[in-house]
Amino acid sequence: MTGAGETYVEIVWKQYRKNRIAVATLGVVGAFFGIAIFAPVLASNQPYWFTSPEGASFPWWVALVNPDSGIDFVFNTVLIVFAPWMATSLLLTREARRASVPTRRRIGLALLLLLFQMAVTLPVLVVARDVRLGWPRWLLLGALIVGIGVGAARGAGRRWGIRPSTLALASIPLALVLVPSLALGLPQGKYFSRDFKKEQVQGKGSGVYTLIPYGPLEQDLDMIFKPPLSRKIGPPERYRESEPHLMGTDDSGRDVLSRIIYGTRISMTIGILAVSIYVTIGVAIGSVAGYFGGKIDIVISRVIEVVLLFPSFFLILTLVALIGPSIYIIMVVIGLTGWPTIARLTRGEFLKQRAVDYVAAARALGASNPRVIFRHILPNALSPAFVAIPFGIVGAIITEATLSVLGFGVRPPTPSWGSLLLVATSDYEKWWLTVFAGSSIFVTVTVFNVVGNALRDAMDPRLKGTQ
C-alpha cells in the first residue's frame, strides 16, 4: 500500500491537496477552532487590564480562570496553556530544524516547555481569584520571569545553535501568559462585585477592552431585540456601551455576535465529543468482530443490525425530554446510538486486512492478538472512521440545534446557536436571530461536509463522485 517510503497519511494528504476548494475549506475549519478557542480574545465585557488609584488588576484574566461553565473552562485552559505553547514551540521547532537538531530532541524540548508552562500556570490559575497589584511589583515579576526564560533559552540556544533573536521572539507568547497569570496569584479584595465598565465612566480608572466589548451573558434591558448595527443612545452609564451591536441583540439585550462567537464552543464540543465517543465504540467493536470472525462476528453483526434500526433521534428526544436538557446527555446519547455505522465499516476493513500477508507475518513473529489488532491492522483500517468524523460533527451540530428549537437544548443563559434559534421561534420578526445563527450553522455544516467529501475521495479515490 505504501510505496516509495511514503506513509499512508502522506498519500492521503497528497490526494487531498488536489482538491483546492477542500484545502481552502480546511482553513475555515481552522478558523472555527480558532474562534472557539480565542472567543474571549474577540469578545468580553472585562478589560484586559484596569488601572485605578488602588493599583492594576486583570479582570479579563480572572474571568478567564473563573468561567461560567465547564466547557468554557476547557477552552480557556486551551487558550491559556496550549495556544502560547503551540506558538512558541512552532517557532522553536522551525529554528531547530534549521539548526538540524535531531527530531527526538526537538520533541523533548517542546514537551519540556509544556511541562514548565503547566507547572507555572495551572496552580496559579486554580487558586487565582482577584488581584490588585502595584505597578512596580508587577514589572519586577515580569522582568524576573523573562530573565529566567531568556537565560534558559540562551543556554539551550548555545547548545543547539539557535539564534537569540528567534528565542526572544519565541519567549514573547510565554511571557504574555506567564506574567499576568503570576500576577493573578496574589488574591486580594473583592472582584466579582465590581463593574469595570461603570467605574471607567465614573472616572475611577481606565482599562483596555477587547474588540467586541460585550460578553455573551451581559444583559442590557434597555436594548432588548434591537436590530443589527443599533447602538445605545443617550449619556453612557458604562464604558463603550454605545458601540454598535453588529448582529443585534436578543430577548435579554445580549449581543448576538458575542453569543454566536461563544456558541462556536458549544457546537464544537458537542460535535467532537459525541463523535469521539461513537468512533471509539464503533472502532473497538468493529475491529473485534472483523478480526476474530466466526461466532463473535455473527453475534456482533446481529447486534449492529439491531442498533442500526433504533430510531435514534426519537430516542434522544425522549431521553432529553424526560431526564432534562443537558448537552452532556445529548452528547452521550448521540455517542451511544451512532456507533453501528462505524463498527460495520471497520469490520469490513478488518475482514479485508486480515487476509493480507503482513498480518500473517506479524502473527508468525509471535505478536499477540491485541498487538496485531492495534499496532498492525488498526492503522490501516481507520479510514472509514476518519471519513465519518466530519459528517458526525455535522450531525451532532444539527441535532443540537434541532433539540434547542424544540426546547430540549442547553439551559437558557448558555450561549449556543440552537438557543438563539429558540429565541427566534418566539418572534420571527426578529429576523437577525434566525439569519445569523442559521447561517453560522449552515456555514459550519457546509464546510464540514466539504472536508468530509474531500477526505473520502482522498482516502478512497474509487468512491469519487458517489454519494
Binding site: 434500526l309 430510531p311 424526560l322 440545534a401 428549537v405 434559534l421 449552515f442
Partner: protein, 606 residues
C-alpha cells in the same frame, strides 16, 4: 432468497425487543409520575379522596404499581409487614399517638423494636428527629398513616391479601380494623361488588358473584323455594329483560318482583347463565335485598360490627384465596410476566395500544391514524417532487459528467444538502411568512380557519398554500441524496457495452440516453422509494413543529412532552416495525428488478 427473508424477519424479534426495552427503561428512568401530574391538574375541581382513588385505579389498570422488569413479590413473605401495617393503620388517633410516644422512648434508648424498624422503613423524612421532638410527634400520626397507606397500596397490593387475611383472626380489635382497612386498600374493594357497572364486562362477574355467594351461603335458609308457576313466569321475564338494552327499562321492571323471587335470581347468578342474564339477576338481587355486605369499617367501630365485616372478608378469602397465593409454577411465571414491561410488551405484540394517558384519554390507534392522514399526503407530495426534480438533474449531471452543467448542479445540490431542515424551515418562515420581508404564505397549520365552508377548489388552493413551505423544506433537504444516487446509477449504465453498441449503431444521442440508458438507470432509483416509507408515515418532528402541522411528528413530540407512556411506546414500536419492513422491501425490490443480484453470495458483505 427465502432464507434471507426468514433471517430478516427473525432479526425483527430481537430488534423489537431491544427497542421496546430501551424506550421503556428510558421512560422508567424519568423523574415524575405523569398520572399524578394529570390528576393534580384536574384535582382542583374534584374532591381529593375520589381523585386519589381514581389515581390508584388507573395505576392498577396500567399495572404501574408492579415492578418494572422482574416481580419477586409473589415470593415475598408479607406476614410481618402486613401485621405492622394493620397495627399502625387500625389504631385510633389517640392510640397511635401513644404508640409513637413509646417508639420515641425506643429511639432514645437506642433499642429499636420491629415496629420502630417498620416505621423507619416507611420513608418518612427525618422520622427519628420527629419522634424525639414532642411538638413534631403530634403531627406525625397522620403522616405515618398516609405513609402506611402508600406502602400498602404500592408494594403489597394483591400480594398481601393472604397475610392480611390471617390478621383477621386476631383478638385485638385495632388489629382487625387495621387489617380490614388494609385489605380494602390492597383490593380497592373490588371483591364486594353488588351490581355491574354501566357497561357490563365479563371481568366483573367474579366480584359480583363472590359478593352474593357469601351472602347466600349465610342466608339461604331464610328463603323458601320459588313456586313452579312463578318460576315459569320469572324465566320468561328474565328472557325479555336480558334482551333489553336500555338500563332504565330493566330498573323499571324491578317493581314486578318480590323478595320471594330472590332464590331464583341467586340461582341465575351462580349458575352458568349469560352475562346479560347475570346483569339482570344482580340488579334484581340488589333491589330486593339491598347492600347486604359491608367491606369497610371506621376506626371507631365496635367489636360486633368489625367481627361481621371481618367474617365477610374471611368468607371471601376462603373462596377466592387461591387467586392471591398462586402455585409455585405460576409464581415463577409471574416473576417475569406480572410486570410493567411484560404487560406493555404483550399489549404491543397484540397491537392493543390502549388509551392515551393524557386527557381526554383517546384511544392511541385512531389518534395515530388521524395524524398519519395529515402527514402522509404532505410527505407523498414531497417525495413526488423530489423524484420529479432529482432524476432529471442526476441524469443531466451524468450525461455532462465533469462539465460546467455537472459542476454547477452538484454545487447547488450540495448547498441545499447542507441546509439543516430546522435552519431552512426557520429561514423560510422568517422571509416569507411574517411580513418583515414578504408575506406570501400563512404561517401556521394546514388549513385556513373556516376552510370547511370553502368550495372544493378553494379548499385545495388553501391547503396547497399552507403546505407549500413545508413541502419546499422537505424536498430541498432530501433532493441532493437522490439526485447523486441517480447520477451514479446513470454513470454506471453509460459505461456499459450496450450503450456503446447503441452509439455505434449510429443512434441519436437523445435516443441513446432516454431510451437505452435512462430506463436501466431508473430501476435502482425507483426501488429506493421503499426506503422512504418510514418518513412517509412518520413525518418530521422539527418541520411539523415549526409549521404547526398536526401530523405524526407533532404527535410524537407532544406525547414525549406529556410523558404519555402508551403513545410513546406505540409510536416507537410501530416506527421500528415500519423501518424494518421498508428495508426488507427495498432489498426485495432490488433483487426483483435486477436478477444479477442475489442474496446467496452476499454473505459477509454489508
Amino acid at each position: 432468497m427465502r432464507a434471507y427473508i426468514i433471517r430478516r424477519l427473525l432479526l425483527m424479534i430481537p430488534t423489537l425487543f431491544g427497542v421496546t426495552l430501551v424506550t421503556f427503561s428510558v421512560m422508567k428512568m424519568a423523574p415524575g409520575d405523569p398520572l399524578k401530574e394529570q390528576l393534580a391538574q384536574g384535582g382542583a375541581q374534584s374532591e381529593s379522596g375520589s381523585t386519589h382513588e381514581a389515581y390508584i385505579h388507573q395505576r392498577r389498570q396500567w399495572k404501574l404499581d408492579k415492578p418494572s422488569f422482574l416481580n419477586g413479590r409473589w415470593f415475598h413473605d408479607y406476614s410481618s409487614q402486613a401485621r405492622k401495617s394493620a397495627l399502625l393503620y387500625g389504631l385510633a388517633d389517640g392510640d397511635l399517638e401513644k404508640l409513637l410516644d413509646r417508639l420515641a422512648e425506643e429511639v432514645r434508648a437506642g433499642r429499636p423494636s420491629d415496629t420502630l424498624d417498620f416505621v423507619r422503613s416507611l420513608g418518612i423524612e427525618g422520622v427519628d428527629q420527629r419522634l424525639l421532638d414532642p411538638e413534631a410527634r403530634k403531627g406525625l400520626a397522620p403522616i405515618v398513616r398516609i405513609a402506611v397507606q402508600i406502602k400498602v397500596e404500592d408494594e403489597m397490593g394483591e400480594h398481601g391479601v393472604r397475610s392480611l387475611g390471617a390478621e383477621l383472626d386476631e383478638k385485638d380489635l385495632a388489629l382487625q380494623i387495621g387489617a380490614i382497612r388494609c385489605l380494602l386498600l390492597c383490593t380497592l374493594g373490588d371483591p364486594f361488588r353488588y351490581t355491574y357497572s354501566k357497561e357490563p364486562k365479563s371481568e366483573e362477574t367474579a366480584g359480583v358473584v363472590a359478593t352474593w355467594k357469601i351472602w347466600w351461603d349465610r342466608n339461604h335458609d331464610q328463603f323458601k323455594p320459588v313456586a313452579p308457576e312463578r318460576l315459569q313466569e320469572l324465566k320468561a321475564t328474565l328472557r325479555t329483560l336480558s334482551a333489553e338494552s336500555s338500563r332504565s327499562k330493566v330498573i323499571e321492571a324491578m317493581d314486578g318482583f318480590t323478595p320471594e323471587d330472590v332464590p331464583f335470581f341467586a340461582e341465575v347468578l351462580f349458575s352458568g347463565s349469560t352475562l346479560s342474564e347475570k346483569v339482570v339477576a344482580s340488579t334484581a338481587l340488589f333491589y330486593k335485598v339491598g347492600r347486604v355486605l359491608k367491606a369497610d369499617v371506621k376506626l371507631s367501630d365496635k367489636a360486633p360490627l368489625v367481627a361481621s365485616v371481618a367474617a365477610n372478608w374471611k368468607a371471601f378469602i376462603a373462596t377466592h384465596g387461591s387467586e392471591y397465593s398462586p402455585p409455585i409454577p405460576a409464581k415463577c411465571l409471574y416473576f417475569f410476566t406480572d410486570t410493567q414491561y411484560a404487560n406493555s410488551l404483550v399489549k404491543l405484540l397484540t397491537f392493543d395500544f390502549g388509551r392515551s394517558m393524557v386527557k381526554p384519554y383517546d384511544p392511541v390507534g385512531p389518534k395515530m391514524f388521524q395524524a398519519v392522514l395529515v402527514s402522509a399526503p404532505i410527505m407523498l407530495l414531497s417525495e413526488a417532487l423530489v423524484y420529479l426534480f432529482a432524476v432529471p438533474l442526476g441524469v443531466l449531471c451524468a450525461v455532462h459528467r465533469g462539465k460546467w452543467q455537472d459542476r454547477s448542479t452538484s454545487l447547488v445540490l450540495f448547498v441545499f444538502n447542507s441546509f439543516p431542515s430546522v435552519v431552512l424551515g426557520m429561514l423560510l418562515l422568517t422571509f416569507f411568512c411574517f411580513g418583515t420581508f414578504f408575506k406570501f404564505f400563512p404561517m401556521y397549520g394546514i388549513h385556513a380557519e373556516n376552510y370547511e365552508s370553502f368550495p372544493f377548489v378553494r379548499e385545495l388552493v388553501d391547503y396547497l398554500n399552507h403546505i407549500f413551505l413545508p413541502l419546499v423544506c422537505y424536498s430541498l433537504t432530501s433532493l441532493a441524496g437522490l439526485a447523486m444516487f441517480a447520477r451514479s446509477s446513470m454513470l454506471d449504465v453509460l459505461n456499459q457495452d450496450f450503450v456503446r453498441t447503441a452509439r455505434a449503431k449510429g443512434l441519436q444521442e437523445r435516443s441513446v440516453i432516454l431510451k437505452h440508458s435512462m430506463r436501466n438507470a431508473l430501476i435502482p432509483v425507483l426501488t429506493l422509494f421503499a426506503s422512504f416509507i418510514p418518513a412517509l408515515l412518520g413525518g418530521s418532528v422539527i418541520i411539523e413543529y415549526l409549521f404547526g402541522i398536526p401530523g405524526m411528528g407533532r404527535l410524537s413530540y407532544d406525547s414525549i412532552q406529556a410523558k404519555d407512556y402508551n403513545m410513546v411506546m406505540a409510536i416507537t414500536y410501530l416506527d421500528a416495525i415500519i423501518v424494518m419492513l421498508s428495508i426488507l422491501l427495498t432489498d426485495l425490490l432490488y433483487v426483483f428488478v435486477d436478477p444479477r443480484i442475489s442474496f446467496q453470495k452476499s454473505e459477509g458483505g454489508a
